[in-house]
């Protein structure tokens, strides 16, 4: 039911997630923000059952803050993704976290997006998505995504992705929240035309 997607554009990374918190077939709450704006210019979106999503992301966030305080500089996006993957991998054969993430950010002008799943898979990608909705989004990425997209073009693609999920998925979430990270930092974007 959870849906998380992201892709890179010209000097920014766009990331969107649904805003519903669900327990089996009941929607417990809406208006949840599943994309954390973490140290430096980074977005960390996470989806997963139970308390794992929040527990794990807060744990990662605390570690990132600690790193910043100890060392005077925030972790790069690549290092953050590798760290997250390491934690998931270590916990996998002890007490696994059921959390799927996307980490996107800007480092010295370079944009990057990382796909991390609950089995501690890590891939650097241009477009990525988690959840049932991903099935539809990947086909849209294949046909519509191109490198160096402007913000407007990115909004068009995001709108198409969300519309497709709502059209075809039986358990489609009613509401999405979309954010971007660029040289000015992280912020919410409205997809209104």
């Amino acid at each position: 039911m959870d849906c998380l997607f992201g892709f890179v554009g010209d000097g920014f990374v766009m990331m969107g997630a649904d805003t519903s918190a669900c327990q089996s077939i009941i929607r417990v709450k809406q208006g949840i923000d599943k994309i954390l704006e973490t140290g430096g210019k980074k977005l960390m979106g996470a989806v997963g059952d139970g308390g794992d999503r929040v527990q794990f992301t807060e744990f990662i966030e605390a570690n990132m803050q600690l790193y910043s305080f100890r060392n005077g500089v925030p972790l790069s996006t690549n290092a953050t993704a590798k760290f997250i993957r390491g934690e998931l991998a270590t916990a996998l054969r002890k007490g696994p976290y059921n959390a799927n993430l996307l980490v996107g950010g800007l480092d010295a002008g370079e944009v990057s997006l990382y796909y991390i799943d609950y089995l501690a898979t890590l891939h650097k990608m241009n477009c990525a998505a988690h959840g049932y909705g991903a099935l539809f989004m990947y086909t849209l990425f294949d046909s519509e995504w191109k490198p160096g997209m402007s913000l407007e073009e990115a909004k068009v693609l995001a709108r198409k992705c969300i519309a497709e999920v709502k059209l075809r998925l039986v358990v489609a979430p009613p509401e999405f929240l979309v954010k971007i990270v660029d040289k000015d930092g992280c912020r919410v974007v409205s997809l209104e035309e």
Binding site: A79, A81, K82
Partner: protein, 249 residues
């Protein structure tokens, strides 16, 4: 008087001193000198070898200089066996960092990690401190080329030019006079040789008494740790010996 308070490392004396730490530093002041100079183009480390023998297999033993990771090197002054433990520690720390974060460890973090270990031996465990001082030379993307010095207490500082080991005060005063802000790598190489030639006991500098290394960047942007061979050192030593001849005439 001091005798009462110095057999245990982990207690203060009434005057507020840690005698074992001070005795460790005393041991280092008898060890072979090491000098480091920071330039915009790289960091130079030079050290005086104390163990000299025709029978020594020089290609297999390095007494003073060690590569800690692809982008960091260290020069040692003090008890070599103690240094080996810490060098290994540093190498482990660097690799663990890369395993966790997929990037090279920032130089200062590596120094801090080693110094935290050294500090531990002054506060708990009842073990004596390490009788080693280090000069760390490295490059990272946050602060570029850097030079750090650490001592048995676990204190460290960032330096533009510094010296440890025998006659380090004399070395430091020469560095203070001759170091300039925009020093080039070549000038730095000549400076460290000059400093060592003035502070070493022997009358003339030869390549078998020295270890000389540099941390620089290649044209492609990779960090390079270069150990100067005897051949590499020839022109620099010739220059230094000529200069000291000229100044004594």
């Amino acid at each position: 008087m001091a005798r009462r308070y110095d057999s245990r490392t982990t207690i203060f004396s009434p005057e507020g001193r840690l005698y074992q730490v001070e005795y460790a530093m005393e041991a280092i002041s008898h060890a072979g000198a090491a000098v480091g100079v920071l330039s915009k183009e790289g960091v130079v480390l030079a050290a005086e070898k104390k163990i000299m023998s025709k029978l020594l297999e020089t290609s297999k033993t390095t007494e003073k200089m060690y590569k800690l990771d692809n982008h960091v090197a260290a020069a040692v002054a003090g008890i070599t066996a103690d240094a080996n433990i810490l060098i290994n520690n540093a190498r482990l720390s660097a690799q663990r960092y890369t395993f966790t974060y997929d990037e090279p460890i920032p130089v200062e973090q590596l120094v801090q990690h080693l110094c935290d270990t050294k500090q531990g031996y002054t506060q708990y465990g009842g073990l004596r401190p390490f009788g080693v001082s280090f000069l760390f030379a490295g490059w990272d993307e946050h602060y570029g080329f850097q030079l750090y010095q650490s001592d048995p207490s676990g204190n460290y500082g960032g330096w533009k030019a510094t010296a440890i080991g025998a006659n380090n005060q004399a070395a430091q005063s020469i560095l203070r006079q001759d170091y300039k802000e925009d020093i080039t790598l070549d000038e730095a190489l000549k400076l460290v040789i000059k400093v060592l030639s003035k502070t070493m006991d022997s009358t003339e500098l030869t390549a078998d008494k020295l270890e000389l290394t540099s941390v620089t960047k290649t044209e492609s942007g990779e960090v390079k740790y270069h150990v100067f061979t005897e051949k590499d050192m020839e022109p620099l030593l010739a220059f230094a010996n000529a200069a000291s001849q000229a100044s004594t005439e």
